[in-house]
């Protein structure tokens, strides 16, 4: 099969310039990496706008962008729920309510918080599952990238995998989390500048946003109107969307996934750490401009997605086909660079999160405890090499067994869903005990797995796979919540003195609040108001 897109010299020049700048940035950060905190947490020195944009970009991977364009072509405007319902409230909650405990307690990782709040077993469960998931995920996205580049540009699989691995290795090895974060900020600008031309040209061709609305079918045009029952394009009712996506999945991801939380921990002070997710929430609300509009335009302008072709259409190719449809060489190179940048920064993000958890929570806890900071810095640097080697290995295994990809993502979902209950009770209920936390988390994970088995066996039925996924999260979360409380009532309580700084009500309020216009609560409230208004407009 010939490649979809043909690049020329100018496009390669643009791609090459990006790679060179990334390597140079990594190299120039090398001299600042003197301590473990420099390497793993950027010396806790970065300003809020940088950590905020990195917080957003860490999640805006290329697969995410391509997938959301596909969702928009499939589900229409309802895709905005993944942003306005499924992200903004959780991001604001993290900044306003949870960050004081994460940043204020000076923990270096999310599992370390679990260790301080609950016990070693809870930390171990979370750290080991997260480390394995993260490094395998990085391999999966590496393979997905190589496959896309092969179909799109005709590049060789091995070439793409090794090339991306070496570039990411170089800049993470030199610059640690700072390299990763700087790359994410650069990616933030590239993805907007790379994809907006498609939005403009698409809207121009279909006659503006009004033209778009006039030509599409009614159910694709509303975010909320048809959520009364599950008889809508998503196949999920309002309860599943609000509780499953908006509450459990979104809070579980945005407030406990170390990949994103690590960005906030790199901030220079508590106020910047709290502002990090809130700063990120504003551009996050605008991301639908570059994913939903192209998805809807694809339905109208691409013959592949015409009414006749619907059942067999491969929506994942929508973005790539649009790039081919609209972009001349030059801008094409820019758009490809944007995708490459988000692939690489996604991989770098996974690798830096893996590094930090492995070195502090696994190696420094179970293997070699109490060594010098210089020792852990060295371990962290070499873990980068090992982490990338495992990713490359995973990429090749997934290539031979493509089904593995689905299984892995499935298993990951078991671990993620209940976690937010453990954190919510840990941070806001001082009565949650050490073993309450552990058993709650374990039963939550088991519930997610059990729900999946019942769904597959046909004992539980839902309108769509997405609905099953949302309800699985709700059940896992509820099981974790109930079991944590139940076990806590019968096990030994922690001494409240030990919990100072970790739990609401036992933690002194930060003394020096910023001026009103720099306060997280003010901006957080504003973010929620804007998100509500957007939901009403696209009702």
């Amino acid at each position: 099969m010939p490649p979809v897109i043909t690049l020329n010299a100018i496009d390669y020049l643009i791609i090459g310039a990006y790679i060179s700048v990334m390597i140079l940035v990594g190299f120039s950060l090398k001299k600042y990496m003197k301590t473990g905190e420099d390497f793993f947490l950027s010396g806790r020195s970065l300003p809020g706008w940088i950590t905020g944009l990195a917080f957003l970009s860490a999640n805006l991977g290329a697969l995410e962008v391509i997938g959301m364009v596909a969702n928009s072509a499939k589900y229409g405007i309802a895709t905005v729920h993944f942003y306005w319902v499924g992200a903004i409230p959780a991001m604001v909650f993290l900044g306003v309510f949870m960050m004081p405990f994460y940043y204020g307690s000076r923990v270096r990782t999310v599992p370390e918080y679990l260790k301080l709040r609950y016990n070693e077993a809870t930390r171990g469960l979370n750290a080991i599952s997260f480390a394995i998931m993260t490094v395998l995920m990085s391999g999966i996205s590496l393979y997905a990238m190589a496959l896309l580049l092969k179909l799109m540009l005709g590049w060789s699989l091995t070439g793409s995998i090794l090339f991306a691995a070496v570039v990411v290795l170089l800049y993470v090895f030199w610059g640690g989390l700072s390299s990763s974060i700087y790359n994410e900020v650069i990616q933030f600008f590239l993805i907007w500048l790379g994809l907006l031309p498609i939005v403009f040209l698409g809207l121009k061709e279909v006659g503006g946003f009004q033209g778009l609305m006039a030509k599409l079918q009614e159910p694709l045009l509303h975010s909320i109107k048809y959520l009364g029952t599950s008889n809508n394009p998503l196949g999920v009712d309002w309860f599943g969307v609000v509780m499953g996506l908006g509450f459990v999945l979104s809070f579980g991801y945005w407030t406990t996934d170390f990949l994103v939380v690590q960005r906030a921990l790199a901030s220079k002070n508590l106020n910047s750490a709290r502002m990090t997710p809130i700063i990120a929430s504003f551009p996050k609300m605008l991301v639908p401009i570059i994913v939903v509009i192209p998805g809807l335009v694809a339905l109208l302008v691409l013959p592949e997605f015409g009414q006749a072709a619907l059942p067999t259409a491969d929506y994942n190719s929508a973005l790539i086909l649009l790039m081919k449809h609209y972009l001349p060489n030059g801008l094409l190179g820019l758009a490809i660079t944007a995708l490459l940048a988000s692939f690489m920064s996604g991989m770098a993000g996974n690798v830096t999160a893996f590094n930090c958890i492995w070195t502090y929570d696994i190696y420094g806890t179970y293997i070699k405890k109490g060594r010098s900071d210089a020792h852990y810095l060295k371990v962290g640097k070499y873990t980068t090499v090992i982490g990338i080697a495992i990713s490359v290995g995973t990429a090749y295994i997934v290539q031979s067994f493509p089904n593995l990809m689905d299984y892995m993502q499935l298993i990951f979902s078991f671990f993620n869903a209940p976690l937010f209950a453990t954190f919510l009770l840990g941070m806001f209920w001082k009565g949650a005990t050490a073993w309450g936390g552990f058993w709650g988390l374990l039963v939550g994970i088991a519930t997610a797995a059990g729900h999946y088995i019942l769904y597959r066996a046909g004992i539980l039925t839902y309108h769509s796979d997405m609905a099953a996924n949302f309800y699985q999260a709700i059940w896992a979360w509820s099981a974790d919540f109930v079991v944590t409380i139940a076990v806590s009532l019968f096990t030994v309580k922690r001494d409240p003195k030990e919990l100072a700084g970790l739990v609401f009500g036992l933690t002194a309020k930060p003394k020096a609040e910023a001026r009103w216009y720099a306060r997280p609560a003010v901006w957080g409230t504003l973010a929620i108001i804007v998100a509500v208004i957007l939901n009403v407009i696209f009702w």
Partner: protein, 85 residues
Amino acid sequence: MNDKIETGEQKTGMSQGHVLDLKLPIGWLLSGYGVLLTVYGLVTKKEMYAISLGINLNLIWGILMLAIGGGFLLAAFLKRNKKAG
């Protein structure tokens, strides 16, 4: 390992920060792209832009990126001057 516990607000100066000003690489990369696309837009033929609805978007986008990249460079330059002065 947890001997470095301090209260949140006073840590600003720790390890001098990572002083590489991120505005510089962003500024150079974007304005570099701006120059490339502008020049490429000027030398390419009109027929190439049939797919972008007849608009020479390389030229327009190049100028836009030059402006954004230049803005970052200017901000970095002003900040550096302020520090020096």
